[in-house]
Symmetry: C2
Subunit: 582 residues, 2 copies
């Protein structure tokens, strides 16, 4: 923890003081208290901030974006009191990667598990973090995540237990992309006829810091709007000492961009993905998709007389967004001292093979393999397509674009308000025989629906994500799909159209990694398996903010009859008002 | 009605067609149907619009701002189904001037009479318009009114009854001022430490149209952001024929500005104010404050070979906002043809005497005088001051700045949730003997509270608004105060400090006008009387959007025990969730 603070030092004086603390504390073996409740009080506000030197309204938690890191130990109970001071806007916060076993109502997904939190209200989330690892939290309402409402959750092992890998220090770094338009403006454009695309992000941020080139803005911007000397947008710098091993917990919460992450002159050993131990492998570039978390080990074995660039760049899209930069600061160099090199460029945006290979390389660590069930009870194939529905551009699965309801499913199902959403089950697949995934389809049969998949409790479900061409020729995008309430076993990735006879024979049932977010690569497919063993209703969606907003998601129900009494705090919207006392 | 549509004609072809319709329809005496229900279905959305040529997000009703005019007859029931499609933002709509007798829960005042309407929800307002006259509707949540969510309500007399004045045609014109920043940005500035003032508005709009000088913008704006050739910002033009009398219903819903309104070359005879008949008087400049409505009669007796300027300009503040322009189009001139003159300038901003004199001149029309009770049961003096509370700049009455609660009073009082707001009564007055209203006071004893005034049902209450110096030397602002749920008798205006012994002796008890909105002039006082005869909870506040947001308001309760069963639709926020079934 001391080293974590170090990374935020802002001046030489502070740096020297903290470096001193750091050495002193590192000599003392402080026992971690057996605290079982981690209590946080947060106030959410709109504030002017300049994360990339451009001043705009962001959503802060206690004045900050990214918000405070939640630090807990396995089996702790986390309580977060969220006070909404967002003027006229509601909110909801999702605890990404936390399965919410026994507390499906605190998953924080507006429309699925709760009504939104109204301005002036304080909502109390309370859940158990039952597994160690690297998780996230973020807004799950409209496109608010992009306003900066996110942060890290780090769950440590219980006292006396240790990870299957060694490291000296632990850091969390969230990667995001950043738009200058408000999310209201973006959302209006995305739902307009004609469609107004959000375009590529203006910046990439590393732990909430980036650098937009104010002087290149056209038309020019005044200095009170964009100012590259504003200390608020000084690059993120993390201080290290030579000869130590650092665990870097790298997460992505990009709105749109798939990223590569690299540290000049340093290899990274991947050891964790989405809270699960990975059979270690070494990379120079870590590919990471929105919603994923990784831990990498970095050994500080380079020339300590200088600093090194940390960079991230967009892959999978031929984007205009410049790379994001940060500084790996070798103590005692000044943390703001630029490395003497030009920031190294990352991999080519269209190097699909490298990305595909990394996906395949991620396996469960030996000795930490949780074996999947040998077979599944149900297979759902989800064709990912772009469509036009009632004149609007939408994303769909199996030609059905998803509409988020405003009476949350969890309440509707538990309180028998079934009229609040479509009871026509969504399709289990698409026209496999005739659909050409490599061609532009007119998809004129596309519709929108808020129907959900209802799963047998404790059944085993296989999901096959099938990618396809968008509405543009020779174009297929990478979609990172995130499942709430569960981890799943990643059984395989493939190129082209999934073969339901032969491809399952190649599934990895030996050492599949468990994850909660997985990409489906352009024109490819991804298959995974999960146990529907968590009573509740759970979103499953593309983690690209605009894609989910445009309908790229579904929801799964399982064991609703086993869900306990719902807290009244999640109610208040839509038909739940009919539950008021007469 | 036909002439109303005419005023929106956009092209010569349309103009000619409508002019034809106009002549045809004016020859036919169409009987107005005795419709008792006026049913409207509205969808509220954020959309990009360019009301003054600058493109920004506004709130539209069915695609328009100003929204549709509600046309009804006395004693009709108006039903408005409001669908909130504002993404992540709530809303609430107030029916300004409608007393809501028997339906206090449909006054539309968030925090006072209802919970906000959530995105995805449809809220049904249903109320009786029990008096003829000119009224308004607008958002009453945060600062949303300034986003363009407003419109006119015009209530006609029943069939067979006629006004005490004659006119040929009837038009509604709403005056507003317009900011380029979003209301989120404005609100964040206003609640920041240090305080960031919203500044003067960029434009004045006449019936939703204005003209910002794009080419003078600094830094320059791209044409897709600001474009003076955009037809969306062509000036408002209203077509008239010579030799006719036009009833113009002029309303102000400015965010900040007090206005003067004038029509080049034409006198205006004031005949109605806030739904009450005025003893006619003639003006060249009509002073109008936010929340007020007036009807003026204009006789089209000028040279019909040309058009005439309609102008509005800021008074009471030495503002930078340029005058607003529109065109009085004498048929058959082209409605967009500029008058051959330079738009005449209005009165000087600091001509206080003229404004004061107009206030005093407004009396009830002979034969239409409703006599006030001869005396009151209670006098509440409300000192208007600017204060600093906990480091924030606030507006206050009696040194108490108003916090809007988020469990609406109406529900809290009816359902016995008294812990949701302060039960310490707010002060009935200020330190009359010692307070110097002409000096900057440090007001260090200022506090904030959500307490309300509880009035005896059917008692008679006098309110004395006492103006004072702001936190700037030699500065006192004009505040238009609006009372919900009632009209009041305007008893008098004065300069300086109200004398509680002698000034009441000068009250006008003979022919006071009834109003719902009244200004208190700089360094002056305004006294009015009302009967607390409408069971419910009613806001009373400065109608300047930023002033109310900064605490310039109070609330009155009367006869809560007589309020009928509350509809569940107004619930869902704050402590009202505790009313859910177990």
């Amino acid at each position: 923890m001391s080293s974590y603070h170090l990374s935020e030092s802002k001046s030489i004086a502070m740096m020297k003081f903290l470096a001193l603390c750091f050495f002193v504390i590192s000599l003392i073996n402080i026992p971690i208290a057996e605290a079982r409740i981690r209590h946080y009080k947060w106030e959410l506000k709109y504030e002017y901030k300049s994360p990339d030197c451009y001043k705009k309204l962001v959503i802060t938690i206690n004045g900050r974006t990214p918000g405070p890191t939640i630090l807990a130990q396995q089996n702790d109970t986390v309580i977060v009191e969220v006070k909404n001071s967002l003027l006229t806007a509601n909110t909801a916060i999702h605890w990404h990667g936390i399965r919410q076993i026994g507390t499906p109502w605190f998953d924080g997904t507006e429309g699925v598990t709760q009504c939104p939190i109204l301005p002036g209200d304080t909502f109390v989330y309370k859940f158990v973090v039952d597994r160690p690892g690297t998780y996230l939290y973020h807004a799950h309402y409209g496109m608010q995540r992009e306003d900066g409402l996110f942060g890290s959750i780090r769950v440590a092992l219980p006292d006396g237990e240790s990870e299957p890998f060694a490291y000296n220090y632990d850091r969390s770094i969230i990667l995001t992309d950043w738009y200058h338009k408000s999310t209201f403006e973006q959302a209006v454009g995305l739902s307009s006829i004609p469609f107004q695309w959000v375009m590529e992000p203006q910046s990439l941020l590393i732990q909430g810091k980036g650098r937009f080139n104010c002087s290149a803005a056209n038309p020019p911007m005044k200095a009170d709007v964009c100012n590259n000397t504003n200390p608020e947008c000084s690059l993120y710098s993390t201080t290290v000492v030579p000869g130590k091993t650092y665990r870097l917990r790298i997460s992505s919460l990009t709105a749109l961009s798939a990223l590569s992450f690299q540290i000049e002159g340093h290899n990274m050993t991947v050891v964790e993905a989405d809270g699960h131990y990975v059979e270690p492998f070494v990379v120079k570039n870590l590919f990471i998709y929105s919603g994923e978390t990784y831990s990498v080990l970095v050994y500080t074995d380079q020339d300590p007389a200088r600093n090194y660039w940390i960079t991230t760049n967009v892959v999978s899209r031929n984007a205009t967004t410049p790379p994001g930069l940060a500084v790996l600061n070798y103590y005692p160099n000044h943390p703001r001292r630029s490395p003497p090199t030009i920031p190294p460029s990352g991999p080519m945006w269209n190097d699909m093979d490298s990305r595909f290979n990394q996906s395949v390389a991620i396996r469960a660590r030996k000795g930490h393999v949780y074996s999947p069930p040998a077979s599944s009870d149900r297979v759902i194939v989800l064709l990912n397509t772009q469509n036009r529905v009632n004149g609007k551009t939408r994303w769909s699965v199996n030609n059905v674009s998803y509409d988020i309801p405003h009476t949350p499913y969890l309440i509707a199902l538990k309180e028998n308000l079934l009229h609040t959403f479509s009871q026509t089950p969504p399709p289990e697949g698409y026209d496999f025989a005739n659909y050409d995934i490599k061609a532009v389809q007119n998809n004129t049969n596309a519709t929108a629906s808020d129907a959900i998949y209802r799963l047998q409790l404790n059944s085993t479900v296989d999901i096959v994500l099938q990618n396809a061409n968008t509405m543009n020729p020779n174009n297929s995008e990478t979609h990172p799909w995130h499942l709430h309430g569960h981890d799943f076993w990643v059984l395989g990735y493939g190129e082209g159209k999934f073969d339901p006879i032969n491809d399952p024979k190649k599934y990895n049932l030996v050492d599949p990694i468990m994850k909660n977010t997985v990409p489906v690569h352009p024109f490819g497919w991804t298959a995974f398996r999960f146990k529907a063993d968590n009573p509740g209703v759970w979103a499953f969606h593309c983690h690209i903010e605009s894609h989910f907003f445009m309908g790229m998601g579904v929801a799964f129900e399982e064991g609703i009859e086993r869900v306990g009494k719902l807290p009244s705090s999640i109610m208040g919207c839509g038909e739940t008002k009919h539950l008021l006392k007469p």
